[in-house]
Symmetry: C2
Subunit: 200 residues, 2 copies
C-alpha cells in the first residue's frame, strides 16, 4: 500500500499508527544506529514520502513512536485489597513490557535512541504520569488502613517496578511471576515499615 495523497481521518490514523509501530519494531530488532526512514516506510508498507511528510527526521519519528507507545494508561487495579492489586498490577506491567509495544520500548531504552533529549524527557514524563495515576490508589489504601499515612506514590512505584527493569536492562534475565509477586511483597513490606515516605 502507498499513501501519497494527504492521508486524513481514519485512514490517516491507521497509516500513522502503522508507521509508529514499524519504527518501534525496527528499534527492537536492530537498534537506533541503523534505523532509517526508508526502512520504516518499507516495513509499514507506505511510500517514504508519506513518512517524511509527517516526520522531518528519524529523531522526530522515534520520539513520537515512544510517546505513543508509552501512553497506555497503566493504573493499579482497585478491588479494595491493595496487596492483591499491587501484585496484579506488577504482573500486568510485566506482561505489557514483554508484549508487542513494551518490548520495542524497552529495547529503545537500551539503545542510542535513549540518549535523544526528547526521548529522555518522554521517559521522565512517562514515569511521572504513572506515579500520578498511582497516587489515587495509594490514597485509597491509606484511607482503608492498608498502607501507612505518608506513603509516597512515587517511592512505592519505584520500589515496585525497579526489579523488573533490573532484569530487562541490566541482567538480561526473564521477569517471572515469582519476580512480580516478590516485587509487590517487598514494596508492601517496605511501605508498612515506614520506609517509603517522600524524599527529604
Amino acid at each position: 500500500m502507498t499513501a501519497r495523497g494527504p492521508a486524513t481521518g481514519r485512514r490517516g490514523a491507521a497509516v500513522r499508527a502503522g508507521v509508529l509501530r514499524s519504527a518501534l519494531e525496527l528499534l527492537a530488532d536492530s537498534g537506533y544506529a541503523s534505523l532509517s526512514m526508508e526502512a520504516v516506510a518499507e516495513r509499514a508498507g507506505v511510500h517514504k514520502t508519506t513518512v517524511y511528510r509527517r516526520w522531518s527526521n528519524r529523531e522526530a519519528l522515534v520520539t513520537d513512536a515512544v510517546l505513543e507507545g508509552s501512553s497506555t494508561e497503566f493504573g493499579i487495579p482497585d478491588t479494595g485489597d491493595i496487596d492483591a492489586d499491587l501484585r496484579d498490577g506488577v504482573r500486568a506491567l510485566a506482561r505489557w513490557l514483554d508484549g508487542p509495544v513494551g518490548r520495542p520500548l524497552v529495547a529503545m531504552l537500551a539503545s542510542d535512541a535513549g540518549r535523544l533529549p526528547a526521548v529522555q524527557s518522554a521517559k521522565r514524563r512517562f514515569f511521572a504520569e504513572r506515579a500520578a495515576v498511582a497516587s489515587d490508589r495509594v490514597a485509597a489504601a491509606v484511607a482503608a488502613g492498608q498502607l501507612p499515612a505518608g506513603t509516597d506514590p512515587t517511592a512505592l512505584l519505584s520500589t515496585l517496578v525497579a526489579p523488573l527493569y533490573l532484569n530487562l536492562l541490566v541482567t538480561s534475565a526473564p521477569v517471572t511471576d515469582h519476580d512480580c509477586d516478590r516485587a509487590a511483597a517487598v514494596a508492601l513490606t517496605a511501605a508498612r515499615a515506614g520506609l517509603l515516605g517522600p524524599a527529604p
Copy 2:
C-alpha cells in the same frame, strides 16, 4: 604520543588502558553508533594502527573496555554490622556508577552497544560475579543472626541495587544518599520478612 612498535610490558599496558578508557569515554559522550576506531585512537593519543593491532573491530574493542571497566572487585564491607555494611556498600556503588569508569559503563548499557552478544554476556557475568562476592558476606550475617537463614545473595543484591539502576537507566534521576540508604533499608527489611529466599 604514537606507539608504532610492538608495545609491551609496562608501556604496552599503559597504552592498552588508555585506549580502553578512551573507548568508554567516547561511548559515554556519543553512544555506540558513531564510535570509530579512529576516534578512539585520536582520543587516546595513539596511532590507529596501534588500536587495530590489538582489536580487529570496534565490537571487540568495546567488549574489552566493558569487561575491563567492570572487573572492579565490589565487595560488601565487613565491619560485623550488616545494616551499616549494606548502606556503605550501596553508597560506594552509587559513587562508582557516577565516576569516571561507572558513567561510561552505564551509558553503554543504554546504547546500541548493549545489544552486542559479547556485551550482553559480560553484563550477566558482571552481575553473577558480584553475587558470588556478596555470598560470603551474607553467609556471615546469617551466622551472626543478623539475617534469616536461606537469604539468597542474588535476591538480596538485586533488591539492593535495582533502585539505583531504575534512576540511572529509566527515570534519569540522580541517585542520592537518601536513595542509597532507603535501598539498603528496604533490602534488609525484605530479607528479615523472609521475602528474599532463592527463586523456586
